[in-house]
Amino acid sequence: MDSAIIIPLLAAAVQSGTPILYATLGEIFTEKSGVLNLGVEGCMIIGALTGFIVALATGSPVLAFVIAGFAGMTASAVHGVVCLWFKGNQVVSGLALTILGAGLANYLGTSYVGQIAPGFKPVPVPLLSQIPALGPIFFNHDPLVYLTYCIPPLMWLYLTRTRHGLSLRAAGEYPAAATAAGLNVAAYRWCGILVGGFFMGLGGAYLSLAYTHLWTNNLTGGRGWIAVALVIFAFWRPGRAVFGAYLFGGIMALQLRLQASGTQLPSSLLLMLPYALTVIVLVMSSWRQGANEAPAALGVNVEPID
């Protein structure tokens, strides 16, 4: 293989990794506050549909993208109500949110199937896109890709270098300690859920506004689940999530290209690749003891005393 094949492939890896990256960052943020949100897929697809409809109606992809974030936030708020108000089971609530989101999007989106909405177009970054190899891979994309370059470092700074981030992590590690320190654990967990849901919504909107520009049923295609797995692969670190998301993006791009090249391999096997990799990655991460870095109180509700 020469660079004429590899560079476009890597560029495609970055692009198809981007929606997964948004979702993974969102889930990392939520899990850092101690809440397990398995409804990533649901939040994504609601974000995707909302973004698509708003773009179609207003013609403004930027507005559509932002509103899609709030749609994801609203969807995740359902999870917050169940888990934080009613102390419901986080796993069950998350699964229900996924099913709800998929069903809702399919139902409301039926009339939009096949339509095309205005979306984001690639905007090469001046100068940077001229760098050999790196330029076409990283700096010849739509603006939403560039946005994801800023989020991981900012999230890392927030979590490790700010008082608010410290408190949010404490709510996820040991709520009793946070409470003893006079912090309102529920408020930080709400923050984790809502901000996380916002990013998941953005991830979904990336699919309908930049990746495809059109609406089909089941647009997210399990990317939310891959994000859940990637959180573990990333050891809950925003930086590592980038690497993981591009790895998966690469596999997705590769299988598309293999199919297009007319290979003899059955397409169903190729389509399976990202999900098979998910399983492998999960096994490898638990070998590497990275699972120990999970927030200690992840998935554990804070029951009221007395």
Partner: protein, 498 residues
């Protein structure tokens, strides 16, 4: 009260959980620059009282005065803002974070954290109180003593004026404990007020300025440490001797040996010898934490005995527990009736079947109908309320749950009963019921009664064994008045001069 206003005054504080009175009309004063020790057995109400002061629990009645003003401590946040902080027995530290991160948690200040500056600040604060600690170390890498220092630093960093220590030495090595006491004295020197919860007599004697003794939810005594002549005196005040209840105990003829322990040694036990015969109650007394727990765990088959032999009903330990029989054998009535003796989320019938299911099986099937009949009769006989087998264990009050456990265990017609603090937290009526049941059980069984309540041991036991520091100091008959009089000395570990 001659013009002097104590920093904190508790007045007539009461708190009950169901029908268990954890605190009954407690009044206390906490002064700056002094160490107040709260001394009492487990379940005496020390921790409840301090949780109220730390804002974790709300009292049912009573008032708290802070610098003369009546206040309501509605949350830990409120208590912290007033400068009341607690070093919990189970540390409230985030293991995955560093020392400095834990110290700064919840601290008001700038949005962005300058770790270098914070590290210096934490280091400086630590050295001010004679502690040496690396602010960048992760909590999970620290020793128990160091973790405790971080807890203290958290409070000092918030400029706490009252520091409450809940059994702080329980997890420390003797050397770490010495360091802690040195730190406490430094804090006193800086005008802080310290409340120190403990049941270790020597510590209280050596550290405290004032001592308040709690028993069964009440302050029974308040003394200045300087006025206490010996630990024995404290022990006597702590365990009490006055007779709350009178039960009639007619000695039975002791029959065959049902439990024989010989030369049993382990990490916290040294050369234990004891035997229990059918028809008698052997009272094992001592201040909690002197080896009673590991001894009971070995006798009841939870932990394998290391050195020495334990024989139950004439059988070797291994043989006895290899094929345990559900009836005519051993019944264990644990101290932790909510955690160990019952399943909180199951109903009374299922809880009844936990240990008696052996009697209700036919092949692989459980005969619940038959069990229900038997259990219903027990509810009635033991007067357990609510008399409803569908009630879940957690819905029962402590006394009723304990009666339920006893009913279940006695149904098994045990020949050896190990009862651990069987009346802890129970009211007088329930205590009397439990005492009568234990006395009746002697007909068919030998009873090992582990208790921290001396009046209970004296009321029920035929013989007494006193434990101190993993050893049985002495074993004697309850009518040996000379030995009985010396129990406080023995419990305090004083050498017995013959």
């Amino acid at each position: 009260m001659t013009g002097r206003i104590p920093l904190i005054r508790l007045e007539a504080i009461s708190k009950s959980f169901g029908d268990v009175h954890a605190n009954r009309g407690i009044s206390l004063e906490i002064d700056e620059g002094r160490i107040l020790a709260l001394l009492g057995e487990n379940g005496a109400g020390k921790s409840t009282l301090m949780s109220i002061l730390a804002g974790q629990l709300q009292p049912d009645a009573g008032t708290i005065f802070f610098a003369g003003d009546a206040i309501r401590l509605s949350s830990t946040e409120k208590a912290i803002s007033l400068g009341i902080g607690m070093v919990y027995q189970h540390f409230k530290l985030v293991e995955a974070m560093t020392v400095a991160e834990n110290v700064y948690l919840g601290h008001a200040g700038s949005f962005v954290l300058d770790w270098q500056k914070i590290h210096e600040e934490v280091m400086q604060l630590a050295s001010q109180y004679g502690m040496q600690i690396n602010p960048a170390a992760r909590i999970s890498t620290l020793s128990m003593g160091e973790k405790q220092q971080v807890e203290i630093l958290k409070l000092l960093h918030r400029k706490s004026r009252v520091l409450i220590f809940d059994e702080p030495t329980a997890v420390l090595t003797p050397r770490e404990a010495e360091n802690l006491f040195a730190t406490m004295r430094l804090m006193i020197g800086q005008g802080k007020a310290i409340v120190f919860i403990s049941h270790k007599l020597e510590e209280v004697m050596s550290v405290a300025d004032n001592i308040a003794i709690l028993r069964r939810g009440e302050v029974v005594d308040r003394v200045a440490a300087a006025d206490v002549k010996s630990t024995a005196e404290l022990a006597e005040r702590m365990v009490g001797r006055e007779v709350l209840l009178q039960v009639e105990r007619t000695p039975l003829e002791p029959r065959q040996i049902v439990l024989k322990v010989e030369g049993l040694s382990a990490a916290s036990l040294a050369d234990i010898d004891l035997e229990v015969r059918q028809g008698e109650i052997l009272g094992l007394v001592g201040v909690a934490g002197n080896g009673q727990k590991p001894l009971v765990e070995m006798i009841c088959g939870l932990v394998r005995p290391a050195l020495g032999s334990v024989r139950l009903l004439g059988m070797d330990w291994q043989k006895f527990f290899a094929n345990p029989s559900w009836d005519l054998a051993l019944s264990y009535i644990p101290e932790d009736r909510q955690g160990l003796a019952t399943c909180q989320g199951l109903d009374l019938l299922d809880n009844f079947l936990l240990t008696t299911r052996g009697g209700f099986v036919r092949g692989p099937w459980l005969r619940r109908g038959q069990a229900r009949e038997k259990a219903e009769r027990l509810l009635h006989d033991f007067d357990i309320r609510p008399p409803n087998l569908g009630a879940l264990a957690w819905q029962l009050s402590g006394g009723n749950l304990q009666k339920m456990v006893l009913a279940r265990e006695f149904y098994r017609k045990p020949r050896l009963i190990v009862a651990e603090q069987p009346t802890q937290g129970l009211d007088i009526a329930a205590t009397e019921d439990v005492w009568k049941l234990l006395l009746e059980a002697r007909e068919q069984a030998g009873v090992l009664l582990v208790t921290g309540d001396l009046s209970e041991a004296l009321a029920l036991s035929d013989r007494l064994a006193v434990m101190y520091n993993g050893r049985i100091v002495s074993t004697f008959y309850v009518d040996d008045e000379e030995s009985v009089a010396r129990i406080p000395q023995m419990m305090a570990g004083l050498q017995i001069s013959a």
